[in-house]
């Protein structure tokens, strides 16, 4: 059935508030769900759909059940918003969380059980009609994700998600980098402390490119200074200098015979260190 009007009642089964607020956000000017015919209903009696958030705590279980039963017998669409409603989320096996006896609390089942599914299943077992469940994962989902999910329920968009099962046939590759793998991993770890996990990949990639080009320590130093001049971001410059120092230190530690076709440094290392220190102190 293609619906042009969807009254949604919001049911919170113990969520952290993140999803609720995003649900409110969906109604506000930038997202404006009303243009899709979506409105928040004041009472479950008016609702065609139930937007559920939260991992389903035992205290909310009975009230939630009553709320779904209070809906008109059809269409009773359930929209599970957020990871918690989809599968219990991070709270999935806490003691006050409701799970059906057959849903393991410490098992390795997949798709992962938990969330509103447990209640829907209980209701279906009791012979109550419950319509389709639209799962919108996210912690919390962006308003766009919720819009997409609602649009999916309304039949306005195509489903894009698809489960995958890969085996060895997918092929295997161990990428080769310009610098040795263990040094790369050490540098990557060090960068976490300087610029964090997110920006490190790009910076490390740039550094490896320079290290691959450099024929000698001096050249590497020059290339990096060049890079820093071209790139006005002081944080990236700092990270590059830290990388250079670390790189040389690790090279010293593990030996120079492989990788960069350079000889052991003569004193530049110290020079670089001083430079890095000065930089780290300034803004």
């Amino acid at each position: 059935m293609k619906l042009r009007s969807l009254y949604i009642f919001h049911l919170d089964t113990g969520a952290c508030n993140g999803c609720e607020i995003e649900l409110f956000d969906v109604l506000t000017p930038y997202y404006d769900a009303e243009r899709l015919g979506v409105r928040l209903a004041a009472s479950p009696r008016h609702a065609h759909a139930m937007a559920v958030t939260g991992p389903l705590t035992r205290q909310t279980y009975y009230a939630a059940k009553e709320a779904i039963k209070a809906m008109p017998p059809k269409p009773r669409i359930i929209v599970a918003i957020g990871t918690c409603a989809c599968s219990g989320g991070i709270f999935y096996n806490g003691y006050p969380i409701y799970r059906r006896p057959e849903s393991p609390r410490e098992g390795q089942e997949y798709p992962r059980r938990g969330g509103i599914f447990e209640l829907v299943q209980d209701l279906r077992d009791e012979g109550e009609y419950v319509g389709p469940v639209v799962y919108i994962p996210g912690c919390p989902p962006r308003p766009e994700e919720i819009l997409y999910g609602v649009a999916l329920a309304l039949g306005l968009v195509e489903k894009r998600a698809k489960g995958e099962h890969y085996t060895e046939e997918a092929g295997f590759e161990l990428p080769e980098y310009p610098i040795e793998e263990r040094i790369r991993l050490s540098l990557r770890e060090r960068l976490k402390y300087v610029v964090g996990y997110f920006d490190r990949e790009g910076i490390l990639r740039d550094f490896m490119e320079l290290a691959g080009k450099a024929e000698s320590v001096e050249e590497l130093h020059r290339l990096i200074e060049d890079y820093c001049l071209r790139n006005p971001d002081s944080r990236i410059s700092l990270a590059m200098r830290v990388l250079e120092r670390e790189f040389l230190r690790l090279k010293e530690k593990y030996g120079w015979e492989v990788g960069m076709n350079a000889k052991a440094p003569q004193g530049e290392v110290r020079g670089v260190q001083v430079a890095v220190k000065r930089d780290a102190g300034s803004r």
Binding site: S87, Y135, E145
Partner: protein, 165 residues
């Protein structure tokens, strides 16, 4: 004037910094399980089957809280946060990504070890040249835990015999 965005009727890209759903690149995954240990929500599972010699790394996007701890922990960059967020579905099995890998078989006893063939290869890649006796290590590393212990014991006995003469 109205500020409303046209989504979902037009395509919309999330900002580059956005943490969308994670995705495992099967060609890079070595099945080490670092992500499984890092995951606070148990969205990632490591399921070993020693009878068939397979390891499954299971990612359930529907349980994922998108903290990017797996991204941070992955040594090969196989699991990555994407910018994809359009994952709503009516069927939860659409959220599951499984990577099934072969476990390494101990050449000595023929049992499956608790690491994959790929993880072993990766380990050899990381091993520094020259610091260790690589050949010796290779010989031991490919054995299962029991055989390795046995080999070590055998070696020690042999060595002590040599010393005692």
């Amino acid at each position: 004037m109205a500020v409303t965005l046209k989504y979902p009727f037009v395509k919309l890209e999330a900002p580059p910094e956005y943490r969308g759903i994670p995705h495992i690149e099967p060609r890079l995954c070595i099945g080490c399980g670092a992500c499984v240990n890092a995951c606070p929500a148990d969205a990632l599972l490591k399921i070993d089957d020693h009878s068939t010699g397979t390891r499954k790394i299971v990612l359930d996007v529907g349980r994922c809280i998108r903290c990017a701890r797996c991204d941070e922990a992955c040594p090969t960059g196989a699991i990555r946060m994407t910018r994809n967020f359009e994952v709503a579905t009516l069927d939860r099995s659409d959220h599951v990504e499984v990577v099934e890998l072969r476990l390494h078989r101990c050449p000595n006893c023929g049992n499956y070890t608790d690491y994959t063939e790929r993880a072993l290869e990766k380990a050899f890649q990381i091993l520094p040249e020259g610091l260790f006796d690589k050949e010796e290590l290779r010989k031991k590393a490919i054995l299962c835990r029991n055989c390795r212990r046995k080999l070590t014991v055998d070696d020690t006995i042999e060595a002590s015999r040599e010393v005692v003469g």
